[in-house]
Symmetry: C2
Subunit: 223 residues, 2 copies
C-alpha cells in the first residue's frame, strides 16, 4: 500500500506542479498580449485555458481515488487534503491569466493599457510569473522554507498594486474612465494571481509541517 501511495502522491504532486507551470506560462503570454496588443498571443492563451481546467478535474479525481483506495492517515492524509485545496488555487491562477488575455482580446486592435502604466504591468507580470514558477517549484520539491517565502514575494506585488491605485486616483489621470476601469480590473487580476500563489505556499508549509502559517492578509487595502 505504502509504495502505491507514494507513487500516486508523487504523480499528483507532479500534476499540480505542471498546472502551476501552465498558469505561469499563460500569465506570461497574457501579459505580453496586453502590453503589445498581440491578438494572436491572447487567442493562444484563451484556447489553451481548457487544459488547466481538465487537469483540475483529473487532479481532483486522483486525490479522491487516493483517499478512497489508500485510506491514508496522519501526515499522508494531511498531504492529500492539502492537495485538494491547492488544486483550487492553481486552477484559479489559470482563470485569472485567462481574464487578462480576454481583456487584451476585447480591446484589440487598441491597447487596453495607457502607455503610462505599461511599466507597472510589465513588472506585475514579471512578479506574477516568478511567483507561479516558485509555486511550481514548491509543489514539486515541498521545500517549506521556499514555500514560506512566497508571502514575502507578494510584497512586491502589493507595492506595485498600491502605486497603481495612487496613480489612478490622482487628479492628473488623463486617460479617461474606460481605461481606468480596465486598469482597475487588470490590477486586481494580477494581485489575486499572486495571492493564490501565496496560499499555495501556506498549504505546502502545512502539508509538510502540520502547521498552517498565519494568513498574511494578502489583499491590500486600496487607497
Amino acid at each position: 500500500m505504502r509504495v502505491i501511495y507514494n507513487e500516486q502522491m508523487a504523480e499528483l504532486a507532479a500534476l499540480l506542479g505542471e498546472m502551476a507551470g501552465l498558469a505561469g506560462s499563460a500569465m506570461e503570454r497574457a501579459t505580453q498580449a496586453l502590453l503589445q496588443a498581440d491578438l494572436h498571443l491572447a487567442e493562444q492563451v484563451i484556447s489553451e485555458s481548457d487544459r488547466i481546467g481538465e487537469m483540475n478535474t483529473l487532479a481532483e479525481e486522483k486525490a479522491f481515488a487516493l483517499l478512497a483506495l489508500q485510506a491514508p492517515v496522519a501526515g499522508d492524509l494531511r498531504q492529500v487534503v492539502s492537495t485538494i485545496q491547492i488544486v483550487a488555487d492553481v486552477n484559479r491562477m489559470g482563470a485569472l491569466a485567462l481574464h487578462v488575455a480576454k481583456v487584451a482580446r476585447r480591446r484589440h486592435p487598441n491597447h487596453a493599457l495607457p502607455e503610462a502604466v505599461n511599466g507597472y504591468f510589465a513588472e506585475m507580470g514579471r512578479v506574477a510569473v516568478a511567483m507561479a514558477t516558485a509555486a511550481k517549484d514548491v509543489l514539486e520539491t515541498r521545500d517549506p522554507e521556499r514555500a514560506a517565502e512566497l508571502s514575502g514575494d507578494d510584497d512586491a506585488m502589493d507595492d506595485l498594486h498600491r502605486h497603481l491605485f495612487t496613480l489612478l486616483m490622482d487628479r492628473e489621470w488623463k486617460h479617461g474612465v474606460a481605461a481606468a476601469v480596465d486598469v482597475t480590473l487588470l490590477g486586481r487580476y494580477y494581485e489575486r494571481f499572486a495571492d493564490h500563489a501565496v496560499e499555495i505556499g501556506r498549504r505546502v508549509v502545512f502539508l509538510v509541517t502540520g502547521v498552517l502559517p498565519a494568513d498574511p492578509d494578502a489583499e491590500i487595502e486600496h487607497i
Copy 2:
C-alpha cells in the same frame, strides 16, 4: 461508526450553513453601510469578520477529523471532500463582504457610490443576500434541485453587473475616475460573491448525486 459519522457530518453541514448565513448577513449590512455611508455598520461587519475565519478553521479541522477517524468511503467520502471544497467558497464570500464594508469605511463620511448607481448596488446586494440564503438552505437541506437553481439566480447578478459596466464605459459618466474605480471593484466583489454561491450549489449537487454540473462560466465578460 456509521452513527458517529452521520452525527459528525450533520454537525459539519450545520457549521457550513451557519457560515453561509453569516456571509449573507455580513453582505447585507455591508451593502447598507455602502448605500448609507454608515460607518457604524461597516465597523460592525469588519469586527465580526474574524468569526467566519475561525469557523473556516474549525470546519477544516472537523472535516479532517472525519476523514482520519471514520475513514468514510464512496458517497460518504464524496461528501467530506466536497465539504472541504465548499468551506473555501463560503470563507471567500465572507472576505468579499468584508471588502465591501472596508470600501464604505474608507470613503466615510463621503458616500463611495455616486447616487446614479445606488439602485444597481441595492439590487446587487439584494441578489447577493438571497443567494447566500439559498446557499445556506442548500447546505442544510442538501436539495440538489434548489442547489442547481443557484446558477440561474446568478443570471440576475450578471445582468446587473453588465449594465453597470455599460454605464461606467459610457462617455456620459460624470462622476470622475476615482468613483469609477470604486464602482468597478465593488461590482466585482458582488459578482464574485454570487459566483461562489453558484459554486457551492454545484458542489452540493455533486455531493448528493456524484455528478458535477458543468461550470456555468459564471464570470461575465465585461464590455
